[in-house]
């Protein structure tokens, strides 16, 4: 008994012996498109409020996330325009994909994006999100972001300067005010297409269908 060493690794559990029922922990429901408020005045007011209070999710992918600190601090100060960093996806509204996106990161990005609440916007920063940029022939980075997430605004450049990012935010504000930035509803409507694309490149799919 004494010479026997028993090792239990909690992270390494057999697939069939999970010790819990996944259905209790993951909600299997599909996302639904939510139509905006019918009343025109209220809808305009809501759009205005959303355009003037954009909370960016603190999630940096690739080299573009280094453009964000100068954006928040004294040099460019986007808080003038009501743009603030927000560390949790539950409260954030804007997802900046800042640069190249590897397949491993895409998994985390999808998870974070799906946890955000409905009016949510995606900003593709840099050429890498447009067509792969200088990593167009890489074995591990995606080429077109809009095959995996609904992108509202692309900001081209390698790297775009913070001014370009502010210009992108202005464009996003214009879209929101006109009621055209319906990325979340687009995602819900074309859910199967997006999921098929995501599953094509994420070979070991171990996420729930939708991360509520």
């Amino acid at each position: 008994m004494d010479d026997k060493e028993i090792k239990i690794d909690p992270l390494k559990q057999d697939e069939n012996n999970l010790g819990f029922n996944p259905a209790d922990y993951f909600c299997g429901e599909r996302p639904k498109a939510v139509t905006p408020v019918a009343n025109k005045i209220v809808r305009k007011f809501y759009n205005w409020a959303q355009a003037n209070s954009l909370w960016i999710l603190a999630f940096g992918t690739g080299c573009g996330s280094i453009e964000l600190p100068p954006l928040y601090t004294a040099r460019y100060d986007v808080s003038r325009f009501g743009i603030f960093p927000r560390p949790t996806p539950r409260q954030a509204g804007v997802f900046i994909i800042s640069g190249y996106l590897s397949v491993k990161t895409l998994k985390r990005v999808i998870r974070s994006y799906e946890q955000m609440q409905n009016p949510k916007f995606v900003l593709g920063l840099g050429s890498c999100t447009v067509n792969g940029g200088m990593y167009f022939d890489s074995y591990n980075t995606i080429n077109r972001l809009d095959y995996y997430l609904p992108v509202d605004v692309y900001i081209a450049g390698c790297m775009p300067r913070p001014e370009a990012l502010i210009a992108g935010f202005n464009e996003l504000k214009r879209l929101i005010k006109e009621g055209k930035a319906e990325g979340a509803n687009k995602y819900a409507d074309n859910f199967d297409w997006y999921k098929a694309n995501q599953k094509k490149i994420i070979k070991d799919w171990d996420l729930p269908e939708y991360n509520w």
Partner: protein, 193 residues
Amino acid sequence: MEEILKRLDERFYVREKKQQRPNLLFVTVDKKVAVEAVTYLRDYEGFRHLVMISAVDYIEQNLFQLTYLLHNYQLHSDIGVRVFIDREHPVMDSIHHLWAAAQVYQREIKEMFGIDFPGSPRVDEPMILEGWDNIPPMRKDFDTKKYAEETYFPREGRFTLDPIKQMEKKNYPLEAEVKYEIKRVVRDNRDKK
């Protein structure tokens, strides 16, 4: 460095040597004695720091080359220990018992080149490429561009316009057409001769 090389040669038979800089030396040793050579350099010659382990795919010679780059803090000099291993049976002895940091390099090399290091902790788990089902991507026979085009929905390339031609066609459409037609005829006839 000369003396270190001499002592190393006495013990392990250096097959090839290359003095890159006064303080950077590359030696090639046999696969069987590579770990001993690295251990000797670490414990007796003061090369205590493992800078990196790198791998090169020499597909023409059917070989992989591993380089253990070591650094000596007293001499401010580096030694790269090179080992050639067979491409058909890519297995190498692990050195994670010498430096814990070697685990990460060995995991990466396992993933990118498919060189196995039996006994190295977590060497079989995916590190960067989660769920990779192709041949290891850094091998020369892996066609990266083809794989990327098949997998990642490439965006169609743009067409580019020569500004001189474009402005000519826009401002003087007739003259430009005649000019380029003449040029085309001349070129075609030249090619025929």
